[in-house]
């Protein structure tokens, strides 16, 4: 079979989560002004400090322009055309328990492979499910509460833990940070909140499952995770959206804080609708994720598998402030068809003996454009800091692109920074070796691509590693290079 025919076949497999849930929803009309910001804040019954914070962000946003430096082509977004709030209509004031959740929503998550009934869930994972603008359910709350862990929707946290919100919100990603983060700060509707108290090892994996359902809606969620001294948490997010012809905006902000000896592991399997093979539709995934290792010996580890979205623009970063703190970034990014991915990380070394590791695996197929963009910055205070970066690209097909734009800035002579990068297509020798052992071409390609990504997959929690592998196989089916 010719390369193109196979590529087309792969492409033909299609997106598996593209259905729409027919559910009545309450939405604000399209448009954005100070009133809309106030309305969102009012719907959520937020304290004054938060309303003010949103308004400050909104006013600042008006002074900003969309960034143009990323290696992506974006259709202009009309921000007045979007609705900034959409929630499934609830009979009561928000479900108190799973029994009160609309069965249609439960069915939706079931269909996505994320059943919310606790008996149906794997015992080791607690889920917060976010549907359009609001959190619809959080599982295993009782068990977590016993351990002292707070895991709830952001809205609930605003009501129950306003002190923590006021203290940490915007402390890692200030509302002035960048265009999309600023917009998010003004209009964010919900998201997840996690607080792990001192010395607690979170008894199960925490996860948030994001679903965009409504049309012409932007999704702006905000996640805040605080790991107090000596605590440990592993958190995972998954994302899907229906197939629609127009591009939809997803502009999230994630903030992580790790205090002394604390560890946060944050994993993402991102499978937003990527658009069709001609690049029609798909999610614009413009996300700001940043963690700060504030205390000594703390650690933040980002792992991401990015197979969806029409455009991905995200750089999960670590500010390594605490002495001996550790930052990690493991990424697999796939750009097939007309997808564009511009992703990478920033490792800002401030404290002495801070260490960071970056492993990025980019796969380009079809007309996909895949860019790694990364900054490693060693400040004068970061004596003995070390970074190792490995950045590999795999090309499948003659019309795709793979780009690597690293920035290495070192201002301390005792630091060591190493960057290695390679770009090539699937080796014909490797392919032939597998064929000679009797393995069919498509299986052989999958095997080699999975091998290429292995050093990232092994960082994922077990069950998600399997999911990620399958996702990659589906996204690439037929893409024999």
């Amino acid at each position: 079979m010719s390369e193109n025919a196979q590529l087309n076949e792969i492409v033909g497999r299609g997106y598996q989560h593209g259905f729409v849930t027919d559910i009545e929803s309450e939405s604000l009309p399209p448009g954005l002004d100070e009133d809309v910001v106030r309305k969102i804040s009012a719907i959520k019954r937020e304290p004054a400090f938060l309303t003010e914070w949103r308004l400050r962000a909104y006013r600042h946003w008006l002074t900003l322009r969309e960034p143009e430096w990323a290696h992506v082509r974006v259709q202009p977004i009309n921000y007045q055309d979007l609705s900034y709030y959409s929630a499934p209509k609830a009979k009561t004031d928000g479900p108190k328990s799973l029994d009160e959740v609309d069965p249609k929503l439960l069915a939706t998550y079931e269909k996505l492979g994320v059943p919310l009934h606790e008996r149906a869930r794997l015992a080791g994972v607690a889920v917060d499910a976010v549907f359009d603008s609001v959190s619809v359910a959080t599982t295993f709350k009782d068990r977590l509460e016993k351990a002292g862990v707070v895991f709830c929707s952001f809205s609930e946290a605003v009501q129950k833990h306003p002190d923590l919100i006021e203290r940490y919100l915007g402390s890692i990603v200030p509302h002035t940070d960048n265009y999309y983060a600023c917009l998010n700060s003004a209009v964010f509707s919900d998201g997840s909140f996690v607080y792990i108290p001192k010395g607690v090892r979170c008894p199960m994996e925490l996860s948030t499952y994001f679903r965009i359902n409504a049309a012409k809606t932007g999704q702006f969620e905000r996640t805040l995770i605080i790991a107090d001294e000596g605590s440990h948490v592993s958190y995972l997010e998954g994302c899907t959206a229906p197939m629609r012809d127009e591009n939809q905006l997803h502009a999230a902000v994630v903030e992580l804080v790790a205090l002394e000896h604390a560890e946060i592991k944050y994993s993402t399997v991102q499978n937003w609708y990527p658009g069709d093979e001609n690049g029609v539709g798909g999610i614009y995934n413009f996300v700001t994720k940043r963690g700060e290792c504030r205390g000594r010996n703390s650690k933040i580890s980002w792992t991401q598998v990015e197979t969806g979205s029409a455009i991905t623009w995200k750089y999960p970063s670590c500010v390594l402030r605490g002495e001996n703190s550790v930052g990690e970034f493991y990424s697999v990014a796939l750009a097939n068809h007309r997808q564009q991915a511009d992703t990478g990380t920033k490792m800002i070394h401030i404290g002495a003996n801070t260490r960071s590791t970056i492993v990025s695996k980019g796969i380009s197929a079809g007309h996909g454009q895949n860019t790694y963009r990364g900054l490693v910055k060693i400040l004068p205070t970061a004596s003995g800091a070390r970074n190792f970066t490995q950045c590999d690209s795999l090309l499948m097909g003659g019309d795709c692109g793979a780009h690597t734009f690293p920035y290495v800035e070192v201002k301390n002579p005792t630091a060591t920074v190493e960057h290695e990068a390679s770009t090539s297509r699937i080796s014909e020798d490797q392919l032939f070796y597998c064929l000679q052992r009797g393995i069919a071409e498509e299986d052989a390609v999958n095997m080699i691509v999975n091998g290429f990504c292995k050093s990232v997959f092994k960082e994922l929690p077990m069950e998600f590693a399997v999911e990620a592998q399958n996702l990659l196989a589906v996204s690439l089916e037929g893409s024999v290079g």
């Binding site: 490797q430 597998c434 000679q436 052992r437 009797g438 080699i448 999975n450 091998g451």
Partner: protein, 249 residues
């Protein structure tokens, strides 16, 4: 089992095989010797279907079927195994995983169910003992960071697990010390049976001390120019190839 008739091949514009004839029967071990650049490895690659080796004439029948119309993986599934001279490294792909996938592909072709995980591991461990390989090999990437000798042992291990009908071993002896050579030869000998055949491509007589061939061929200038018994290998060791080339010219 294998009948090659008047096989002609080229790579790009370069003629490699120029009308090669060879017949291998079940139960036999053949050795193909010859000077550098004679086309020995090209013959092995052509039979395995490596892209770039273009067949311009002749025929190859394997178990009665036309081998040349089959895709590389179909040839493997049909029972043809190539032990590579320079096995490629495939980082991140587990040895044991490749082995299992290959075995299951062959079983599927024969209408057998997938191998049971426990049985599979028992089988592999047994073969590894024979090849004197450490268990740790299994969890490493395919040939990743292996020494030359380790790669060759790994090739033979794969062969033992896949139990091919016809094994083509391309310079399996090169780069091996004498102990490793014995281990590799043991592995090959354990596979010998009336229903299988082995074709050894080699430079040196040394390997044939440990794997006794039934037939020895000399391949030069893209053809088999002489065929004889094991004594031919000894004669080549003593006299080199020049006398034959002079005769053939």
């Amino acid at each position: 089992m294998l009948e090659i008739h008047s096989l002609q091949t080229r790579i790009g514009d370069k003629e490699i095989l120029r009308g090669l004839n060879l017949t291998v029967k079940a139960g036999e071990v053949h050795a193909i010797m010859g000077p550098n650049g004679a086309g020995k490895s090209s013959l092995a690659y052509t039979l395995a279907g490596r892209p770039g080796y273009e067949v311009t004439g002749g025929s190859v029948r394997f178990e009665g079927a036309d081998l040349l119309t089959l895709a590389p993986e179909e040839r493997a599934q049909a029972g043809l195994f190539l032990g590579f001279q320079y096995p490629v490294e495939i980082p991140g792909v587990n040895n044991v995983y490749l082995l299992k996938a290959a075995l299951n592909a062959a079983r599927k072709q024969r209408g057998l169910p997938e191998v049971d995980a426990f049985e599979f591991l028992t089988l592999v461990r047994e073969k590894m003992r024979l090849m004197q390989m450490d268990e740790a090999f299994l969890s490493r990437g395919v040939n990743e960071g292996f020494s030359g000798g380790e790669k060759k042992r790994n090739e033979i291990l794969q062969m033992l697990v896949l139990e091919p009908k016809l094994a083509l071993l391309d310079e399996t002896d090169s780069g091996l010390d004498i102990d490793a050579l014995k281990v590799v030869a043991n592995g090959v000998n354990s596979l010998r049976s009336p229903s299988r055949a082995v074709v050894l491509v080699t430079h040196y007589q040394r390997l044939l001390d440990y794997i006794k061939p039934d037939v020895v061929h000399v391949l030069a200038r893209g053809r088999i120019i002489k065929t004889g018994g094991p004594e031919l290998a000894l004669e080549l060791e003593a006299r080199g190839y020049d006398w034959l080339l002079a005769d053939a010219a």
